[in-house]
């Protein structure tokens, strides 16, 4: 019994980790907390949904479309909204992205109303058995995607010139400029990548979650908790933080009360903020 609870928690953690990856990347590179993060997830989920509804495209196949689409949308959002205020105060970033959040929700509400929409694939409830435990396949796939995404990101940041430029800009902005790094271009790429990861997340979530205009807010709040817990800008921390929160939620859902499970991790969140705002693993700048 407890084993299953833990497994569920870990798999849930994979979801949370994947959702938070883009958020922590963007903060680590350019010190912006994107309050519209959840709405990009919502857009990716809707995109996946409509590709399925209109063209019968399997969500895992639609990754090939959704991810590049979100990459472009992310870069566009950066250019239009973030870049003009990149040097402004934190509060300006908060409210500008909050405004974006509301606008995107508004568009979704207007176009698709508040209905819950889901897709059912042949494997949505597929399960494999590991001894007494059962593991839901789509959730396992998400978990694996999370790990794959983190690894891919690590390699990209470590091995490519653009990746190194991103890390350099995150560590010492002025020095990076003195090396010839075009800062706005690099920020745009980093932001785009962050949103592309969100795109991946949206696509792989559709087999098991339903989409509605405010679905983004739910996930975003958790993402904030995970990111603060794991350390802003710390990619590995996003994975560990996600798993911790997933397990905490799963365990409190069973052993405390289902309605309170989110309350538990919010309280943990506030405690972490107060005791160690740099997160369990510290505010690691992208290594």
């Amino acid at each position: 019994m407890i084993g299953q609870v833990l497994v569920n928690g870990i798999l849930l953690g994979g979801i949370y980790a994947l959702v938070s990856l883009g958020l922590t990347l963007i903060f680590g590179v350019m010190r912006i907390i994107n309050f519209a993060h959840g709405q990009f997830l919502m857009l990716a989920m809707y995109a996946t949904y409509w590709l399925f509804q209109l063209y019968g495209m399997d969500p895992y196949v639609s990754i090939l479309i959704v991810v590049p689409l979100m990459l472009v949308i992310g870069m566009g959002a950066y250019r239009m909204i973030i870049q003009p205020i990149i040097d402004a105060s934190e509060m300006t970033h908060v409210f500008a992205t909050l405004g974006l959040n509301l606008s995107l929700q508004g568009i979704a509400l207007f176009l698709w109303q508040g209905d819950f929409r889901g897709i059912r694939t042949s494997y949505s409830s597929l399960v494999i058995h590991l001894g007494p435990l059962y593991i839901n396949i789509p959730r396992l796939i998400i978990f694996l995607c999370a790990i794959a995404a983190i690894l891919a990101l690590f390699l990209f940041l470590k091995k490519t010139y653009t990746g190194k430029a991103i890390r350099a800009s995150a560590q010492k902005r002025v020095a990076a400029q003195l090396m010839g790094v075009n800062l706005s271009k690099i920020y745009m790429i980093a932001f785009g990548i962050g949103i592309a990861i969100v795109g991946l997340t949206g696509a792989v979530l559709m087999p098991i979650y339903e989409v509605f205009p405010s679905v983004g807010s739910l996930f975003a709040l958790v993402a904030f908790v995970v990111v603060v817990l794991g350390g802003l800008g710390n990619l590995g921390g996003a994975l560990v933080g996600g798993i911790v929160i997933g397990v905490v939620e799963s365990v409190s859902g069973v052993f405390i009360a289902p309605a309170l499970k989110e309350g538990v991790y919010f309280i943990i969140f506030v405690i972490i903020l107060l005791l160690r705002p740099t997160g369990i693993f510290g505010k690691a700048v992208i290594r």
């Binding site: 003195l178 010839g180 790094v181 800062l183 700048v285 290594r287």
Partner: protein
Amino acid sequence: MLKVEAIDVYYGDLQAVQGASFQVGKDQIVSLVGSNGAGKTTTLNAISGLHRPRSGTIRFGEINIERRGSHQIVELGIIQVPEGRMLFPEMTVMENLEMGCYSLRARKNFKNSLQEVIRLFPILAERKEQLAGTLSGGEQQMLAIGRGLMAQPKVLMLDEPSLGLAPLVVEEIIETIKTIRTRGTAILLVEQNVFHALSISDRAYILENGEIVMEGKGEELLKNEKVRKAYLGL
């Protein structure tokens, strides 16, 4: 090679540099000396494209560069080694040097540049995989200069390379700067350590409150009473 003419640089409403004019030629070491807040770093940042001057011109050869972006300035071969070194602390020595080679022009010559830098600073080869933040002060300065050299600079600008370093290390750095000059690079040196700066400079300019108040050959200024006044208020 590099000619700065009457630039005015402002931070908001505050004027940091006023009417500064000087030039640096090939194979030359030119110094800008002055106390803290005199406007030296601001001048370098204006040349590097980090901060646009409100008026005046900066010419590199025949081109006007005062309105260019920082990445374009680097592509042209004007490289700054900033004050306090500003290494990438979580990147290895090797990665820092690679970043030095970021510009497209420099990337082509990566292997050669690396060899030259290692020849100049053999210790960097030993510390290749070490994180830059863990090096000693002197080693960091060498890495910073090495990183600058990786970019194959035509003009190399050094902002207070001797800051916070032990005297012996400073001597080494000064020697290195002289060696770099022999390779044909024009050097613009900004320093608080007046003696060292003046003793290796072909030409020097004294900056006070954003204005150039004195200029001349390095050796002559060394012997000048007024220069001592500027620093010791005699």
